[in-house]
């Protein structure tokens, strides 16, 4: 139609590859993709996979930014490929796997560790009366205001972009990371929850909440508008309040490795 009058725009798509599935031998494949209006970076990648090279490894599913599968670095920044318009770039797009995750192949990284850390912070509602929690005849109730207190943090789709952007995750592989910390806050800030104490125990550690030095990269890259950096600062506050309440020392114990005498 309209496009027929002028020559079709071509996008140069550079895809980081791991040949033969080995993690060691890295380089790029370069594909020329005919641009169509509305094409996303995922659309361009799928064009390459379907028409040019079936062997590109990508993880993707919903194509509407709610499943969290297709996180990758696009021209250097962690983004969801399905949520990034190809037209946002001139003509050259470079895609690489996310940083700070073990690589499986091409653009696909291993999230097993990520899910384990998420699990470790008790990402569920905890009630002292567990039996009553498992009966379902009425609601606990919650005001719209109480809902507001944690709602934005529950928009997390577990895409892991925040951890890939985090400068602390880059230097401390044991750091809990913004995703899990923000979820620790999400459940702790829920008016229905009574498990703050269990959760705080998991993050009031050397590699936990205190390790965050508020660079804010997590909030900058989150595709769902979650502000993990804010959640983490509030979590620090909850942690201090908890220490105050229990009479625990307000200064964390210094780790042995860091002490100078």
């Amino acid at each position: 139609m309209q496009g027929n009058a002028s020559p079709q725009r071509i996008i140069q798509l550079k895809v980081r590859r791991t040949r033969s599935g080995s993690n060691l031998d890295k380089d790029f494949s370069i594909f020329e993709i005919p641009y169509e209006p509305g094409m996303t970076v995922l659309g361009a990648l799928l064009y390459a996979k379907e028409k040019i090279d079936h062997s590109i490894a990508i993880r993707y599913s919903c194509r509407m930014a709610c499943c969290g599968s297709c996180g990758m670095k696009i021209n250097g920044l962690p983004k969801l490929a399905c949520y990034t318009q190809a037209a946002d770039y001139n003509t050259s797009i470079t895609v690489e796997p996310l940083d700070h995750y073990p690589l499986i192949r091409d653009l696909v990284t291993n999230f097993e560790g990520f899910f384990q850390v998420h699990r470790s912070i008790h990402p569920f509602l905890i009630r002292r009366n567990a039996q009553e929690q498992e009966t379902s005849e009425s609601e606990y109730g919650q005001s719209a205001r109480e809902l507001e207190d944690f709602l934005q943090f529950s928009y997390c789709i577990k895409c892991g972009l925040c951890n890939a952007a985090c400068p602390t995750s880059a230097t401390d592989s044991l750091f809990t990371g913004p995703q899990a910390l923000a979820q620790a806050y999400r459940y702790s800030a829920d008016s229905r929850d009574e498990g703050q104490i269990d959760r705080i125990e998991t993050i009031d550690t050397e590699h936990g909440v205190w390790r965050c030095h508020f660079a804010g990269a997590c909030s900058f890259v989150c595709p769902k508008g979650v502000d993990p950096a804010l959640g983490i600062q509030r979590l620090k506050r909850l942690t201090m309040l908890r220490r105050q309440k229990t009479g625990a020392p307000l200064m964390p114990k210094r780790p042995a490795s860091g002490t100078k005498t």
Binding site: M64, G68, I104, Y155
Partner: protein, 571 residues
């Protein structure tokens, strides 16, 4: 082939139904049963996350709702093809699922007095679509996935693709699967299995579904000898955003949005004088296609797609931002349109599979020890047309039933011998015949052609002639040389998975077309131009399709009627 994994129950699929089943099995067994969730995606990526508008349940009998009314609306919506005993059970079970989710952390939207909020949805006599903004499925998935992490006896096998069910003497024995990360092939032994793999919507190109929603699970059961039921009933949701097909929730119309044609008319008044935009989905989609065919649609200059407008502007910025923030985000990002300022271009889009694996109300299939729940199953509560907000609800109720039933069955059963021959046979089929297969044709081109023919012949309106052409073209495509995998690397080989998925698409597309061709009437979402009337005398019955190498063998079974006599529907 490496070691055998042995479980009490194995659940295939990790959407709302699969996760709900896993949690129920863990609860019922008090942490004792070994439960495996085998899923081809990562566990919280299933397409249940995309459900937007609501989950139907009767919560406020004190304010005028009633179970009776939800039952009647669902049966009427189904165009009287639903099994009425199943609908009664479903509706009665639903309220406690809403409260249970609330106890697990679901961030339901709230009324001013802090109670769970509900909105209006198509086909209902009371606003009973329980909602959490317009991200209901997403939040349900989050609540269920996170809660499932409480249990040590739920083990996830993420990114494992199931290739076959192992069945001996009509009894479920386990399954075979490929671990995508390593490329290794493994058999699983289990006393009970639950198929919860969702719908078949990616049979169509213009679809709200994610790319992963291929009919793998339906094909597994079908090939193992279970009939698939009522597959000709495919739901086309009225408001798919063009050109991507991303869903714009019915909640938009529930909250007051209207549909407009090229003449600026609110055309649905003609087709559903009372409910207008909030008639059942089949009625609204037919109204829209009729408008487009009469030349009252708009044409997209880039794609040539014809569409109508969904206008939300009069709802006001505040209401849109508060209750419909998700679809606003989608419209801005995928179409560059802010619904606060401009109407959205939409057309009917493949959204739901009413049919599925035949089960009874206890989620049992005809194979002993094999259960199914959610969109993959056909109980049938949806009949010929599902009402909005009943699908996430169905996943919760029957996921829960399946989890409890499977674990009770599995733990009271003696261990049994395992047919290793079947495992070896399957390994030969997928590796010798497919992974090492050869051929000239690009399987992705064939995949796209299957979708295109389904869009063309099995859309909102169908005809005998079109369906015959569709079947002929489908069978011809299947004989082409697409059964090969160019990518020969073991690790994370999605090319291999995509070819296996294509095989399942051929199985199920054939059932859809054959069932639609045979059903010479119009009922619910199945509209035949050559048979425009519903024909209760001959067709008040379910279609059952059995696998046969020469094409599906169709049988029929009666619909269970309790007290709602089929009458003509008006909205």
């Amino acid at each position: 082939m490496t070691e055998i994994e042995s479980y009490d129950i194995v659940i295939v699929g990790s959407g709302i139904a699969g996760l709900r089943a896993a949690i129920e099995a863990a609860r019922v067994s008090e942490g004792k049963a070994r439960i495996a969730v085998v899923t081809k995606v990562q566990a919280m990526r299933s397409h249940s996350v995309s459900a937007e508008g609501g989950t139907a349940a009767v919560l406020y009998t004190d304010r005028g709702d009633s179970l009776e009314s939800h039952i009647y609306d669902t049966i009427k919506g189904s165009d009287y093809l639903a099994d009425q005993d199943a609908v009664e059970f479903f509706v009665n079970s639903m309220p406690s699922e809403i409260y249970q989710l609330e106890h697990w952390g679901m961030p339901w939207s709230r009324t001013e007095d802090g109670r769970i909020a509900q909105r209006n949805f198509g086909g209902y006599s009371y606003p009973r679509a329980t909602f959490a903004g317009d991200r209901v499925g997403f939040f349900e998935m989050q609540t269920l996935y996170d809660t499932s992490r409480k249990f040590d006896n739920i083990e996830f096998f993420q990114e494992w693709y199931v290739t076959s069910l192992i069945v001996k003497n009509n009894t479920f024995r386990g399954l075979t699967a490929i671990d995508l990360k390593s490329g290794e092939y493994h058999p699983f032994r289990a006393n009970a299995g639950i198929i919860a793999t969702g719908g078949a919507g990616r049979l169509y190109r213009f679809a709200t579904y994610g790319y992963s929603s291929t009919p793998d699970g339906l094909s597994l059961a079908y090939r193992a000898g279970v009939p698939v039921e009522d597959m000709e009933f495919v739901q086309f949701h009225p408001t798919g955003l063009i050109p991507s097909g991303v869903l714009i929730t019915e909640g938009a119309r529930g909250d007051g949005a209207i549909l407009i044609n090229k003449k600026g008319e609110r055309f649905m008044k003609k087709y559903a004088p009372e409910k207008v935009e909030l008639a059942s989905r089949d009625v609204v989609s037919r109204g829209m296609i009729t408008e487009i065919q009469e030349g009252n649609g708009f044409t997209d200059p880039v794609t040539g797609m014809e569409y109508l407008l969904l206008d939300l502007r009069h709802l006001g910025a505040e209401k849109i931002k508060d209750r419909l923030s998700g679809i606003r985000e989608i419209a801005i990002k995928f179409k560059g349109i802010d619904p606060i300022k401009e109407p959205l271009p939409v057309r009917p889009v493949c959204h739901y599979t009413m049919g599925g694996i035949k089960t009874n109300t206890k989620t049992e299939t005809p194979i002993i020890g094999l259960f199914s729940a959610g969109e993959a199953a056909c109980v049938s509560i949806n009949g010929a047309n599902r009402l909005g907000a009943n699908s996430t609800a169905e996943c919760l109720v029957f996921g829960s039933v399946a989890g409890a039933a499977a674990v009770r069955f599995a733990t009271t059963r003696d261990s049994h011998d395992f047919p290793y021959d079947n495992v070896a046979q399957e390994e030969k089929r997928i590796f010798d015949d497919i992974f090492h297969g050869s051929g000239e044709e690009n399987p992705y081109d064939i995949h796209n052609q299957v979708q295109t023919l389904m869009d063309k012949y099995a859309y909102v309106y169908r005809s005998g002639e079109g369906l015959e052409s569709g079947l002929r073209e489908l069978r011809e495509l299947r004989t082409r040389s697409w059964r090969h995998v160019d990518d020969q690397v073991k690790e994370y080989n999605t090319n291999f998975v995509n070819v296996l998925e294509l095989e399942s698409m051929f199985d199920v597309a054939e059932v859809v077309l054959a069932g639609a061709l045979s059903r010479t009437e119009s009922r619910g979402a199945h509209s035949r131009l050559d048979y425009p009337e519903r024909n209760d005398k001959e067709w008040l019955k379910h279609t059952l399709a059995y696998f046969d190498p020469n094409g599906p063998r169709l049988e029929y079974s009666p619909v269970t009627i309790t007290k709602y006599t089929p009458t003509e529907r008006h909205y």
